[in-house]
Amino acid sequence: MLRIEHLIKTYSGKPAVDDLSLHIAKGEICGFIGHNGAGKTTTIKSVCGILGFDSGEIYVGGKSIKTEPLECKRHMAYIPDNPDLYDFLSGIKYLNFVADVYGIDATQRQERIHSYADMFELTANLAQSIATYSHGMKQKLALISAFIHDPEFIILDEPFVGLDPKAARIVKDLMREKCNAGGAVFFSTHVLEVAEKLCDKVAIIKSGKLVAYGDMDVVRGDSSLEDVFFELEADEND
């Protein structure tokens, strides 16, 4: 579903992502872990086609984000770490906007809005302007908008920040459902316990380089993901 090959992205000559390669197959959830400024968001934005990159290739569903960006975007959904949505729209208008852009017909969008808004307990607030939403509510709206067009691949940057425990649980369930239905999920997180429980694969990035990557069981071995993460951190410092 996602294949990144030798991705290099620099800012003013400094590498933010340095020769990163990874692969996520259909049915897999891959966690992306790293300290602040490690290059997670840069990688994610490059995958979504928001940020250009210096070299390498990114394929979503077998299509290159460089040469066929629209095809790639049509099959994926992206949720940023800070959901800066159109504050001047109401929740329902935003969802309709997203549905229009992805070409979802009226019946389907009605059903999905109803279902997901109820699930995230946001229905009553849909008529409100997004400007009045809390961070968590914006995050929920962004999640609904991501699921509304039933993407095959979902990419999320810190999706659990600001969510209440119930909503966080719903997101985890939806991610698993998506994978069971043949989709894939790639998300960054700082919550190692969540990554450990939820992910089939894990990628650990440090200073732009992938320092560990593979099936969760293989990367973790007999210890916890937290131990592995700190060991890698210590190795690098030595």
Partner: protein
């Protein structure tokens, strides 16, 4: 603490003005351009005021009502300061994004307020100096100045901004408090602002008549002025007569309201910031939804944004408002307009009313610079436009179309009204309809092109993207330059060769070619620029 906050606010204001997209340093060229722009505005201001006060100096001092010269000057300085500060005061003092952050710190709310007031006061001092300087120079060299008068004048320059600040502060507070409790606050704010602006333009357009009356009925009006606005009477008396008593009175008039306003707002500042939030809660009731294509959805999104923010309308589409006023005027005041044209036409070589209508509408269209801020307004939400599966060409086209709707529709309404009132035959209809629409379309493509080259995506308040972006400035002054340039070319070179109608058609044809050229550029290099944002 106030000093630290003051410099932070000043830096924030400066960076809002200078910063474009990303973390690029402001280039010397941009600074030079901005300095040039500020100097140009100041020169226009100074020139206009110098002409105005030059016509007043002699008669007022001859009739012994020299105080009225300064009272009027004070009134203008006060009015401009209040108008210039009220919306900024509202955004900077009551709706600043860092209010919550600062309130959470061990800082006295009064210190936060004072630091913000000082920034606004600095701005008012600059404005007051520019406004008052030409009248002062004329008076100084006109032979009417006295030593005491000069001292009291300088005192006036220092104190008038305090009066204006007090008024702006209270008006901004009332506006904020009232609007936060209203359901349709956008419309009400817009109506209030437009009403205010129309009143201002009405007074400015009739100023010659008032001046005539001032000179003929000087004593009568002076008395009325003295009773109606005693602080400015005191200011006028202190400078013109060198009266120390009036000066003392003026100090009281300036300092007391300011002190009272500051104490009043300062005491309630925390409460105001805490209670001035939220709006009317609407509960969602499920309704059938309609599906549409990506382009209509993008345009609808832009239009909702436009309508939801009165300051965007006021700062970027004032021409559309005037087009609608124009539409009503040509129907209701047809005879009056005709008589004005008959009076004015000989000055420009007997111009006929039809091309003049078209020129007026085209010029009003040029005042619409909405397209110049539509990219900047994406701000932090730009990720949405970049991550959706919509070609960038469509996104750029949606911006152009938004401008065309906002500017072209009122223009069409105004053209139809002008046709009903004045047109005689198909040729008249075409000239009233086409050139203004083409001018609007030119602004649409030029604005987007300029904005793609000078985006301002990092703002704390949308008003900075609309009002202070280099894009808006370049588009506005570029358009004004085009109008002035074409007028001069016609008046100096072509008037004797071609009629205004022919010249208008030539301009329309050139504009049309330019639109095609710029739009195709947008679809190629514009797309690349958007990708790089």
């Amino acid at each position: 603490m106030i000093k630290t906050l003051f410099f932070i606010n000043l830096r924030a204001l400066g960076s809002n003005f200078m910063k474009g997209s990303g973390n690029k340093k402001t280039g010397g060229g941009k600074i030079f351009l901005l300095v040039l722009l500020v100097l140009y505005i100041a020169a226009v201001f100074v020139g206009m005021l110098a002409m105005f006060f030059h016509s007043l100096l002699e008669p007022f001092f001859t009739f012994g009502i020299g105080w009225l010269y300064f009272a009027l000057l004070g009134l203008i300085a006060f009015g401009i300061s209040v108008v210039g500060t009220i919306f900024t005061a509202s955004a900077q003092i009551f709706a600043a994004k860092d209010n919550e952050l600062l309130l959470s710190m061990p800082i006295k709310p009064s210190a936060i307020l004072m630091s913000r007031l000082l920034v606004l006061l600095s701005f008012e001092y600059a404005l007051t100096t520019v406004v008052m300087l030409p009248a002062f120079v004329l008076w100084l060299f006109g032979g009417y100045a006295t030593a005491a008068g000069i001292i009291f004048f300088i005192m006036g320059v220092l104190l008038l901004p305090l009066m204006a600040m007090a008024a702006a502060l209270l008006l901004a507070w009332i506006l904020g408090t009232v609007s936060s409790r209203l359901r349709h606050k956008n419309i009400i704010t817009l109506v209030l602002a437009v009403g205010f602006m129309l009143a201002y333009f009405y007074i400015m357009t009739n100023i010659q008549g008032y001046l005539g009356e001032l000179v003929t009925k000087g004593a009568e009006l002076a008395e009325a002025f003295r009773r109606a606005i005693p602080p400015l009477y005191a200011f006028g008396q202190s400078v013109a007569e060198g009266s120390a008593g009036s000066a003392m009175l003026f100090i009281l008039w300036a300092v007391l309201p300011f002190a009272m306003a500051v104490v009043l707002v300062s005491r309630n500042y925390r409460k105001i910031l805490i209670t001035n939030r939220g709006g009317v809660k609407t509960v969602y009731k499920e309704k059938a939804v309609k599906a549409s294509g990506a382009l209509p959805a993008l345009i609808r999104k832009e239009l909702v944004h436009f309508w939801s923010k009165p300051f965007i309308i006021l700062n970027s589409s004032i021409g559309s408002l005037f087009m609608l006023i124009f539409a009503v005027m040509v129907l209701v005041k047809k005879e009056a307009i005709l008589s004005i044209i008959v009076d004015v036409a000989p000055m420009f070589g007997n111009l006929s009313p039809i091309p003049l209508m078209a020129v007026s509408l085209a010029i009003l269209g040029v005042f619409n610079i909405l397209s110049a801020s539509l990219i900047s307004l994406e701000g932090k939400s730009l990720w949405i436009a970049k991550s959706i599966p919509v070609p960038i060409r469509t996104i750029i086209t949606s911006k152009v179309c938004t401008h065309l709707i906002v500017s072209g529709l009122p223009c069409l309404v105004a053209s139809i009204c002008a046709i009903i009132a004045f047109a005689d035959g198909v040729t008249d209809c075409l000239i009233i309809l086409l050139p203004p629409q083409v001018a609007s379309a030119l602004m649409a493509v030029c604005g987007v092109a300029v904005n793609l080259n000078h985006p301002k995506l990092e703002w704390t308040n949308e008003i900075y993207a609309v009002k202070q972006g280099a894009s808006a400035m370049i588009t506005m002054f570029g358009a004004m330059g085009l109008v002035v340039g074409l007028s001069l070319v016609y008046a100096i070179l072509l008037q004797s060769i071609v009629t205004l109608t022919v010249f208008l058609w030539i301009c329309t044809a050139v504009f049309a070619v330019a639109i095609v050229f710029i739009y195709s550029g947008l679809m190629k290099s514009g797309v690349r620029k958007f990708q790089e944002l």
